[in-house]
């Protein structure tokens, strides 16, 4: 009946673990699941990365396309992120147009890109008012076991680091772009934001990196995004239990150390990928 | 005893908001505080949590001797309460029951047998679309509300299916309570204009029937306009109508 307890009274089941300052999967309250990263495995994309946080698996493929800059920003390219939660990744998602969670996640990622200037949009401009790059960053979840946002931002950052753009020039005579696939360049990454998500249990216990079950039982969810200079890029808590300012500060402190860990991981994987070539 | 009530006293008749707390000082009523605090009856809008009483609706704090407290709030949506009489609309027949819309979140059920004189053989003549005046015998959050058209003695006691004619309209739950108050001046004033029949359901539905359709509509309109009028304004209006202003 131990297993029975778990499905029939999940709340009580989790409480019994939290009382002992641990979690059903054996983690401590402040412990993230093992995080692994793999970059550049999709050949049809200009850049790609696959990240796993525990079971949660998210893939990001970046496609660069040429376009005309918008009239109000003639010297800038643009970045279009999208988060997709296909029915493949969990039975909670149905086929059809994106649900609220996917839309909110897409908006969140778009805000992070804008707020932090991960990539200078001017870098994406090829010729003012004429030609620029559009980076389509399609993020797809393959296995949804909670903490989507953390995984999305890691995979986005790693895929951007992995991405390479061919050299493009505009032929003076024909006025048409010429693509030189022999010469490729990496993107200049300005900021390295990393997200850390937390779940609040019974209005007081805070745990990091919640699984999907922990998310569904939590009374509040928090996502803090910091950059390498320890500045906050987002502090998102869509509602739920009210918390003391001090508790929020604890979350930010944890996020700061997590940023270091993740950036180290991304650098390591990116380096080994480069050297293996 | 007074110690407990004193915490409310200042606020009686005042507006309170959700989250407001009445705390009785445990130290002053230490001996047998348990017994005494038990005696406070929390009506709608109040709930007890240990030695605190929490307000969970906005409205006016009311008190009735000896120890009943509740929040008088103006709301439009009806939530069924056991024992309350309401006007419902029959929406479906299924098996042994009628489904009745009472304006709550769920349709109420009404048994074929819950009518005066009804037996398994002798079923009451109720059609989909009929209006019924009935009373809740079951109403709580866990169950489908259940209505009956008989009192505890098995008598109709004014309940049952409405006859033909008449007019049904909706008013706020606050106005309904004012209409039902034992000495309602509003009703008395109205009756002075011309005679009519009226049934008031606690779910905000009012049914009226006068001699002619015209008169029925006048009554209905007057009642609806009472919603936001002071007693003085109302009297002035009624007077004008009685003098043939319409």
């Amino acid at each position: 009946m131990a297993a029975g307890f778990k499905t029939a009274e999940p709340q009580e089941y989790h409480r019994s673990f939290l009382k002992e300052k641990c979690r059903p999967d054996g983690r401590e309250l402040g412990e993230f699941r093992p995080t692994t990263l793999n970059v550049g495995s999709i050949n049809t994309a200009n850049g790609s990365a696959l990240v796993k946080i525990g079971n949660t698996t998210v893939i990001c493929g970046i496609k660069a396309e040429l376009a005309v800059p918008t009239a109000d920003a003639p010297d800038k390219g643009y970045i279009v992120p999208n988060v997709d939660l296909p029915p493949l990744c969990s039975s909670r998602f149905r086929p059809g147009p994106p649900g609220e969670q996917a839309q909110v996640a897409s908006q969140f990622i778009a805000d992070i890109i804008d707020d932090t200037n991960i990539i200078k949009k001017e870098d994406l401009c090829i010729e003012k008012s004429k030609l620029c790059w559009v980076l389509y960053c399609d993020i797809m979840c393959l296995d949804y076991d909670g903490n989507l946002l953390d995984a999305c931002i890691i995979t986005l950052l790693a895929a951007l680091k992995n991405a390479q753009l061919p050299k493009v020039t505009i032929n003076k005579e024909t006025d048409l772009p010429e693509v030189d696939t022999q010469h490729k360049r990496h993107l200049q990454i300005n900021k390295h934001p990393v997200a850390s998500s937390f779940a609040v249990f019974d209005d007081e216990v805070i745990i990091v990196d919640p699984t999907t079950e922990e998310e569904s039982l939590a009374t509040a969810l928090i996502t803090a995004v910091t950059d390498e200079d320890d500045q906050l890029c987002a502090f998102h808590k869509p509602g739920g239990s009210s918390l003391l300012a001090e508790k929020l500060q604890d979350c930010v402190s944890r996020a700061v150390t997590r940023n270091r860990e993740i950036n180290k991981l991304i650098d390591k994987v990116t380096e080994s990928k480069k050297s293996s070539k | 005893m007074n110690a407990i009530h004193s915490c409310f006293k200042a606020q009686i008749g005042e507006v309170v908001l959700p989250g407001d707390v009445f705390q009785f000082d445990v130290s002053s009523v230490e001996e047998d505080s348990n017994i005494k605090s038990e005696k406070i009856v929390c009506g709608p809008g109040l709930r007890r949590n240990g030695d605190e009483i929490l307000v969970y609706k906005s409205g006016i704090l009311r008190h009735k001797q000896p120890s009943m407290y509740w929040i008088d709030s103006q709301q439009k949506r009806y939530v069924p309460v056991k024992g309350e009489s309401v006007i419902g609309i029959v929406t479906a027949k299924s098996g042994d029951i009628f489904k009745v819309d009472v304006g709550g979140s769920e349709q109420a059920s009404l048994s074929y047998l819950a009518f005066e004189g009804a037996t398994k053989r002798n079923r009451p003549n109720v059609q989909v679309g009929d209006l019924v005046y009935a009373q809740f015998i079951i109403a709580n959050k866990d169950m489908e509300p259940e209505l009956v058209c008989i009192d505890s003695c098995g008598r109709a006691n004014g309940m049952g299916v409405f006859g033909a004619g008449g007019f049904l309209f909706k008013v706020s739950l606050g106005l309904v309570r004012r209409l039902l108050a034992p000495q309602s001046e509003m009703v008395k004033d109205l009756e002075k204009i011309f005679p009519f029949e009226m049934v008031v359901g606690l779910n905000g539905r009012v049914w009226v029937k006068a001699k002619s359709v015209q008169q029925t509509l006048i009554i209905a309109n007057l009642l609806e306009s009472c919603e936001n009028m002071t007693a003085q304004q109302r009297r002035a209006l009624f007077k004008r109508v009685a003098e043939g202003a319409l």
Partner: protein, 194 residues
Amino acid sequence: MSPMKLCVPGERLCSVEDCISGAGTYQRHGSIFASLAGYVIRRNEGEELPMISVVKETEAQLLPDVGAIVTCKVTSINPRFAKVHILYVGSTPLKDRFRGTIRKEDVRATEKDKVETYKSFRPGDIVLAKVISLGDVQSNYLLTTAENELGVVVAHSEAGVQMVPISWCEMQCPRTHNKEFRKVARVQPEYLQA
């Protein structure tokens, strides 16, 4: 001992003359084929032909079947029936929720006409029941609790405390000592640990 034989769906296991087709297999054109990926097991039962079956994991049963004992959670009640979510078939948790219905007449075996659903179940109760039919196009699985071993196993009182059974039709709240009516299951030893 040689390692146990494994198979994938579609593999021919043997002729129908050699074995009886058991779970995880099917017959076609005089042969028995595997319909599951798993371990092939041959079992002799009596003097008849051995039974051949394919076993995958412990959680073999995927769907509530007629006669199965299921654990469910009551989601709503009305005077005619209680609606439930089926959580377990036997001891196997279901990944997806299936809905079921316990009609008033299936609550208990005796005095069926006097049953009141409100005095039998409340939303949130955990109930042991047995599948009596898969229902028709409109309805869900039909379940019954008309056996001593079936009925409410876990229930919370108005005060939110888990109650203790005191008879086959009553449970008591350990905090307020209020008694509430339920169709209580005579708890079998394996459920006592909870």
